[in-house]
């Protein structure tokens, strides 16, 4: 990191990142390159560009947050949220992950750390992300998240706030977490000098409620056969908006647009793939973001990801009179939190709802929360006679991806499902 060449490169990247022209160019090029893409995709492209631009230009205080930190609260506190895990996925899809992984590993970040955090660490070491004014993370699901965000706050010398939800979804747990959220809001307003407004908090939750209605509507539309939105796409830009946009006007506009596109697809009888014989449920909140053969292989077998477990609206409508309790309940309601039986029960419902033929659990290397439960889920599904494939891989670090091995596992699984059908 101290090499001269690195410093010059970092300075160039840093000054480019701070210029409005860069974003204008990025937006124009993006719209040209992806001109055949859906409007919802272009909307996401504008959203991420705008977020980064605003953050670099320090229009408001910048917060780095983990994906399970409710964005509703961050928008209410008038912050610009940056979700490093989601940016890592975007960087991987642009083919730039290796560079940042190399940087992180050269600085003693172990290859066993989740690659999403290695890329984000490499990016911060190269000063390729807007500097945070504060850092917030939850200890929910990701065990690497707390360490990563704490380290980031140390690196940038800013405050770190941890939301530490209890294991069970009980009333005492809800009150305990609500107090943490209230405390967080108080400290953030004090540290940033932002004015705290109840009306703003309520309006953010109201926006999130309306957006959730649209997500629910979309999820209902996705029960259609042929599937109108492939899970492969949903695990990309839709996922970004799912984590980063709730509580904002952009979030609502995005899901309204996506809903319209899906309705149009259904009306025109247009499925995500040409012929649909096998419906897959994808487990885990990510997929590989670098070029890989998974989607194409599935399409060759007329298989489609009908749904992905992460896109559920698992929380209740926010109660505007009790905002902190509502947000606490949202965090605690995550099916991945608490005992594994909750996740299994949610998976069971999705299998029935989306008429699933087979389940693929993507085992992200370094992700203990997800991989740890995979064998127990498989055991449960075996009794239910639902075939499940545990597909080892990495969403970002392509060194942990082997085309031949992935192909054989996936094709064998799809052959097995084809026989069954």
């Amino acid at each position: 990191m101290k090499d001269k060449e690195g410093n010059i490169k970092d300075q160039i990247i840093s000054s480019l990142a701070g210029s409005s022209l860069t974003y204008l160019l990025f937006k124009k090029l993006g719209h040209y390159y992806f001109r055949k893409s859906k409007n919802s995709f272009l909307f996401w492209l504008d959203f991420i560009t705008r977020q980064l631009e605003k953050a670099y230009q320090r229009k408001k205080p910048v917060v780095w947050a983990s994906i399970f930190t409710p964005s509703e609260l961050l928008y209410a506190l008038d912050l610009i949220p940056i979700y490093p895990e989601m940016i890592s996925a975007t960087v991987a899809s642009l083919g730039l992950a290796d560079y940042f992984i190399g940087t992180a590993e050269a600085n003693f970040y172990s290859p066993d750390i989740c690659s999403f955090y290695r890329v984000a660490s490499g990016m911060s070491l190269r000063y390729c992300l807007p500097r945070p004014d504060l850092v917030i993370s939850t200890s929910l699901l990701c065990d690497g998240s707390v360490k990563f965000f704490q380290n980031i706050s140390r690196f940038y010398g800013c405050d770190y706030f941890l939301l530490d939800p209890p294991y069970q979804r009980k009333e005492e747990a809800k009150s305990f977490l609500a107090k943490q959220l209230k405390n967080l809001a108080r400290k953030v307003t004090k540290n940033t000098g932002n004015y705290f407004s109840w009306d703003k908090l309520k309006s953010s939750l109201e926006l999130a409620n309306t957006t959730a209605l649209y997500i629910n509507k979309i999820n209902q539309l996705r029960e259609n056969i042929p599937t109108p939105l492939s899970g492969w796409n949903a695990l990309a830009y839709q996922l970004y908006m799912y984590f980063a946009s709730l509580g904002s006007n952009e979030g609502l506009n995005f899901y309204q647009l996506l809903n319209q596109e899906i309705e149009d697809n259904i009306q025109q009888g247009e499925g995500a793939i040409a012929k649909e014989d096998i419906r897959i449920l994808w487990l885990h909140q990510l997929r590989p973001y670098y070029p890989n053969i998974i989607w194409q292989t599935m399409e060759n077998y007329n298989a489609v990801i009908a749904f992905e477990e992460i896109s559920q609206v698992y929380w209740s409508e926010h109660n505007l009179t009790k905002p902190y309790l509502s947000l606490a309940d949202k965090i605690l309601a995550n099916p991945g939190a608490g005992p594994l039986s909750r996740r299994i029960s949610a998976i069971d419902n999705l299998i029935k709802k989306y008429q699933i033929d087979g389940v693929i659990h993507f085992n992200q290397r370094g992700c203990r929360q997800s991989c740890g439960g995979a064998s127990l889920i498989k055991e449960y599904l075996r009794i239910k006679k639902v075939p499940m494939l545990i597909l080892d891989g990495d969403g970002i670090d392509r060194r942990n991806y082997s085309e031949g091995q992935t192909r054989t596992r996936l094709e064998a699984f799809l052959e097995m499902l084809s026989q069954k059908n």
Partner: protein, 262 residues
Amino acid sequence: MVVAGIDIGAITTKAVIMKEQKIKSYIIRKSGADLRKIAWDCLEQALQKAGYQLEDVETIVATGYGRISIPFARKQVTEITCHTKGAHWLNPAVRTIIDIGGQDSKIISVSESGQVIDFVMNDKCAAGTGRFLEVMAQALEVKLEDLGDLSLRSKKKIVISSMCTVFAESEVISLIADGCPKEDIIRGLHEAIANRIYSMAVRLPIQSTVTFTGGVAKNKGMILALRKKIRKIVYLPPEPQIVGAIGAALIAHNLLNIEKLH
């Protein structure tokens, strides 16, 4: 109708010629770098051995890791499905297949009707594969095909703790330097692989009858170590290395039958 099944593995390529579901000939050769050429050569030699011409072959199905490199095959099917078809055809009582190939190992659960119920594969590591034994044979300066017989002469149990091919090789070299008999070291290697395979196999219920396929199944010492570990009824195919190619040929036969029906 004459059909062919070609299994292009990481170490060896196998071709089987079948007529009316009866094996007419087979060929096993080293794979090398040019997979397309070796598959073609194997097919030609197997045909010659069976006394057929290329024009006699109605359908070819390719399997194995090199299956996608074979443009003259009508269909590519994974080795998991092909081993299942082949093993079920050889012995319909087979419910579990343990296939130890050149670069990976697989455990397959088979239904009564000869379909894949579930499978597990080793991770991206050479431990517990044919390649592992090949490297160890080189370190021990013995022929790969002699490993089995040598291990049966072992008198003392030695535990090999490393399963990483690189580290196990240095462990083997250290044991040789300490004067340990090669027979005992080889037995230790076989038992280490058997333990690894067993821990993978128990993820699926191991049910009798169990069969061993792949090149490693020709190693008597390895089979003994696995038998001791799994304690189930075992069926050993007459030529374990060609089970995948047999399965591919049977799928080719079925493809033709379906076509004729329509």
